[in-house]
């Protein structure tokens, strides 16, 4: 207690010097704590981004296959294409369809990877439902899009409807993102997929226009395995409402009125006469860090460059890289300012100890042990640092968020051109051609990387205590050296 009192009193010996030391320490500590808070926030948000983005992969037929097919078809005249279609057997037509599809055996094998957490597979195609009126397609015909589609070998009629099949309707991104909402009936599930139950979900406006309700049936015109015309009856088990129109990234996927049917994958495969094939498989895997491992596994399984796996690594990098850079910058700031703190404290303690050499000699002469003298100096150091830390904490709370935002905005500004270049040369182009992401991909929350949320919680308090301890201990180096080296016989002779 008396040591504490003596140490505390010593601070008042030179109030101006103590105030200057406290001020300088506060500035440096505030900066270092703000940098630490930003660092912690950046690290935490990188982890948050990692949990949401970067762990999604799609397997599709390579874009090169689509390119070559497009150029091959566009080189033919209208008559040539018409003749080809008339003479083509169903087996040949199926083979042609399968050229742009991927065997389920490959996508299933990839799903067995230790990194894969969830897996779904999709097939989207156009099916003719002769009894249903799809008036919205009138616009497609008037705009000439149907003719363009015909050039690619796709027959579009007024009774053609887009069908999407997967293993479980509830897991479709349209439903999970809330763009479409089931308003009547139920979703089809994995059981329906396994049993190939001929069930469908229909859009509400289309159902109303054709006076259809759950339990009613619609008839699809298909070709059976032998190529003969056949009909397939589909039972409506659910009606959904479109809350957000589908995007029009893709010419052939243009469906702004939402006249899409959803059915179990096995049923869509049967309707398309392509059993065992899908056009897209989606995977959520454990972690963005395992992207390369998953890609390597995929390459080993697919064995050719006909199929490709794309991931949202670029999306992850777009969000996480600025945060990581903020983290690195703040680390440099943290260590720099902590170094300045230590330097300030060491210099001030050097001044204090050198100014008290004789006093230290007197203390030793009257029987003070080194530890007693050091305890008194330690009280001074701790009080100086504690006051500085308290002031710095308040300043950190006021400045931390602004500093974090500024650092992030600076990094996003320098990052932007680089990222755009990546998008144009890689995945972005492929997606544009193929028509956006898979129906299994959930919308990513980009806001998580656009702002930094600097929190002043227990972790920061703990680190502040550790900083206080570390700075105090380092600041005690000079007193320890000074006290141990003081020779009372020498200093007490001086006047």
């Amino acid at each position: 207690m008396m040591t504490f009192t003596r140490g505390f009193k010593s601070i008042y010996r030179n109030p101006a010097r103590s105030l200057i030391v406290i001020f300088l320490l506060s500035v440096c500590l505030a900066f270092s704590m703000a940098m630490l808070a930003v660092r912690l926030a950046a690290d935490s948000q990188v982890e948050e981004v990692k949990a949401r983005v970067g762990n999604y992969a799609e397997v599709k037929v390579s874009s090169n296959v689509f390119f070559s097919r497009y150029f091959a078809e566009s080189g033919k005249s209208e008559k040539e294409r018409q003749r080809e279609q008339e003479t083509m057997t169903e087996q040949e037509a199926r083979q042609k369809r399968e050229e742009t599809l991927i065997p389920e055996s490959i996508t299933d094998e990839v799903s067995r990877s230790e990194h894969v957490r969830t897996y779904d597979k999709f097939l989207t195609t156009d099916i003719v439902l002769p009894e249903l009126e799809n008036t919205n397609l009138q616009m497609v015909f008037e705009s000439g899009l149907a003719k363009e589609a015909s050039r690619l070998g796709i027959q579009v009629t007024m009774n053609t409807f887009p069908f999407t099949g997967n293993t479980d309707a509830a897991s479709l991104s349209d439903f999970r993102d809330g763009k479409k909402v089931l308003v009547e009936g139920r979703y089809y599930d994995y059981f329906d997929f396994s049993a190939a139950n001929p069930v469908v979900l229909i859009e509400k406006n289309l159902a109303d226009k054709n006076q259809l309700r759950t339990g009613d049936t619609v008839v699809a015109r298909i070709k059976d395995k032998t190529g003969r015309e056949a009909e397939k009856e589909l039972t409506i088990i659910g009606i959904y409402e479109t809350k957000e129109a589908e995007s029009s990234q893709n010419l052939l996927g243009f469906n702004p009125f939402g006249n899409r049917f959803y059915a179990p994958l096995s049923v869509v495969q049967e309707l398309n006469n392509t059993p065992g094939f899908v056009d897209d498989a989606s995977y959520y895997f454990d972690n963005v860090d395992n992207t390369n491992a998953l890609l390597a596994e995929f390459r080993a399984i697919s064995g050719s460059d006909r199929y490709e796996m794309t991931t949202d690594l670029v999306d992850y990098q777009t969000l996480a890289d600025p945060l990581a850079k903020v983290g690195n910058t703040s680390s440099i700031g943290l260590w720099g300012s902590l170094g300045a703190c230590v330097l300030i404290l060491l210099l001030s303690m050097l001044l204090i100890v050198r100014g008290r050499v004789k006093e230290l000699g007197v203390f030793k002469a009257v029987g003070a042990a080194d530890r007693q003298i050091l305890a008194q100096l330690a009280v001074e150091v701790v009080v100086l640092c504690l006051v500085a830390v308290i002031i710095a904490s308040a300043a950190t709370a006021a400045l931390g968020q602004s500093l974090g935002n500024w650092l992030l905005s600076e990094n996003i500004r320098t990052e932007a051109p680089e990222q755009n270049q990546k998008q144009d040369g890689g995945q972005g182009m492929m997606r544009q051609f193929q028509g956006g992401g898979s129906p299994g991909r959930l919308a990513s929350d980009s806001s998580v990387g656009n702002q930094i949320k600097v929190l002043f919680g227990n972790e920061l308090f703990l680190y502040a205590c550790l900083i206080l301890l570390g700075v105090c201990l380092t600041g005690m180096v000079i007193p320890v050296v000074g006290v141990v080296r003081v020779r009372p016989a020498r200093v007490l002779r001086m006047e």
Binding site: G361, V362, F363, A365, V366, G367, Q372, A489
Partner: protein
């Protein structure tokens, strides 16, 4: 009370100009109940002798016995020795300027863990005994005269009731009248049974001492 027995004490210092012999085989006995003066000119080794007896310096050779124990070779805790066995009085007082007179006297007791109330009580008693009235107790040394400062220093030396008082030129920084008062206080302390060893170059102080040892160039000359 124990006396001080110094035998063949040698101390050398290494300086840029070479080795300086501060003490060269000095032997001396200072009895309890007597004031012993060590007299000699500047640089004769008086202060070095006192600092070695007070354990502030270690000798290169020889021994210092206080009572039955050799303070340097018997494994004695020297910090404890400085706290309880010896009390220092310096020429330049060496009071802590940021402490009051009372706090300066309390300081040695604080090092030994005496309760604060007891420290205050004894410090007041000692200051009163040294003629420092209560109105001066809370004054800092800079507001005290030289004589008052030296009396506070003596009170501080007595704080832990030591057997040996080591006074290094206690009158060197005082006028003759005040110096006489200080010497009289030291004599009084010796009469209480303490061993008082005074280093001085003042023959008047030597004349008032019970025994005198003359030092010259680190050797005892009479």
């Amino acid at each position: 009370m124990n006396g001080v027995e110094v035998r063949d004490l040698t101390k050398r210092y290494r300086t840029r100009g070479g080795e300086v012999i501060a003490l060269d085989g000095v032997s001396l006995d200072a009895q309890p109940g007597r004031m012993t003066a060590v007299v000699g000119p500047s640089g004769s080794g008086k202060t070095t002798l006192l600092y070695i007896v007070g354990s502030l310096e270690a000798p290169d050779a020889g021994s210092v016995r206080v009572g039955e124990r050799d303070i340097f070779s018997s494994g004695l805790n020297l910090v404890d020795y400085r706290r309880k066995t010896v009390g220092f009085v310096f020429q330049f007082f060496n009071l802590v300027n940021t402490y009051t007179a009372l706090e300066n006297v309390m300081l040695p007791m604080a090092m030994t863990g005496v309760a604060r109330s007891e420290q205050k009580r004894r410090a007041r008693e000692l200051l009163e005994r040294m003629g420092i009235g209560p109105e001066r107790w809370n004054h800092r040394p800079t507001r005290l005269s030289g004589g008052e400062q030296q009396r506070v220093a003596i009170a501080r030396a007595l704080a832990n009731d030591p057997q040996v008082i080591l006074a290094d030129e206690p009158t060197g920084n005082l006028d003759s009248g005040t110096g006489k008062i200080i010497v009289e206080i030291l004599r009084e302390l010796s009469r209480e049974g303490r061993c008082v060893l005074v280093a001085t170059h003042d023959e008047n102080v030597a004349g008032l001492s019970d025994s005198v040892a003359h030092l010259k160039d680190g050797r005892l000359v009479g």
